[in-house]
Symmetry: C2
Subunit: 182 residues, 2 copies
DNA sequence: GTCACTGTACCGTCTGGATGGTACAGTGGC
DNA sequence: GCCACTGTACCATCCAGACGGTACAGTGAC
């Protein structure tokens, strides 16, 4: 048993890093195996097909995100915020490696757009939450959209560093969320 | 001469539609040729390599967007708005086909992330513009981020229809932009 | 006006390499 | 003994790109 759970994790993280540096088109089982220090057979042992690998990447992204949300909501200070608050914070506090996991969305979209179905449900739920405890659900949705915009631009390295500042933008988003009418 | 200009255009639009329905991984010169009613050689005549095709897709996206912006800014009513106004409107008034052109970003990212370099410059310029004529550049950037978030979620069909309404969201974004301090 | 030539817009075929997936024998730690 | 692999061999398919060729409109010299 060569630490099987973390091998799975390592494969998934390696896959994401390939998408990051080389693009989703170059996400191949061979490439993942080589970069993760495994044989092709080894990768296929954990994920019987490329589709399964992509599904797992997307699932990990959503699980990690859901877990982070759950923990944030347990914190006493956070419970005073509107629902949109932890959604913004969860995105803000991500480590670069976790943030890169969002590339699973690109990889899935590249291979087969129908793989995104679970993500659609997940995101719809976040929007529902964001609008659930304010009388101005639309404004809450605008804030969530901005958070998602930040995520996507960041993920594609399209964010202009000189013009904007991630941390300040998140701080502002949080501030705006505190002003939502209850 | 079989209307050569529109053939080029047709190829680019066909390429985008393939990315939309099948995913960027299935964007091949063969597939484009077949869907556009050309031979592979015919496509390669217009775009000497797949990379050139992707560059042209991205360039078309930015040209179209820039043109739409330019026209909007000439309209008298629009000139009273802050700079972020037309940026939001340009995104709002797009036809579905134009909106799908944004998938060029995904296709480029899938093939080679470095293809996105021109887009990076373009987006940086938009952010600079958005923050240039208000004392609250940060808020303008939040609005632009929301617009981009809308674009990306829409492009991946991740927008929850039941929860949000595109047109209402755009209207709200425009309203918020009018409240920006000058 | 016709002839030689050029440039444009393709078509159809081919090749080498990459890719997903299968199969299966072996191995080392627990 | 079985779990978690390795390693090799292999196959069918896909794909980018090169290449040779075709059709034809236009041009300019004579």
């Amino acid at each position: 048993m060569n630490t099987p759970v973390s091998t799975r994790q390592k494969i998934l993280e390696t896959a994401v890093s390939i998408v990051d540096t080389n693009g989703a088109a170059h996400l191949t089982i061979d490439a993942v195996a080589a970069a993760a220090g495994l044989s092709k057979g080894g990768v296929l042992y954990h994920f019987p097909s490329k589709r399964a690998l992509l599904e797992a990447m997307l699932a990990l992204l959503m699980e990690t995100s859901a877990l982070r949300l759950e923990k944030l909501r347990e914190e006493p200070g956070v419970q005073l915020l509107p629902m949109i608050g932890p959604l913004i914070m969860a995105e803000q506090e991500q480590q670069p490696k976790q943030r890169a996991m969002a590339l699973a969305i690109l990889a899935a979209a590249a291979e087969d757009p129908s793989l995104l179905t679970p993500a659609r449900t997940y995101i719809a739920e976040r929007f529902r939450e964001a609008g659930s405890d304010t009388t101005d659900a639309q404004l809450a949705h605008v804030l969530l959209l901005a958070t998602e915009g930040l995520r996507f631009l960041d993920m594609l390295n399209l964010l202009p560093d000189g013009v904007t500042n991630r941390q300040q933008l998140f701080a502002r988003l949080l501030e705006l969320s505190r002003e939502l009418p209850r």
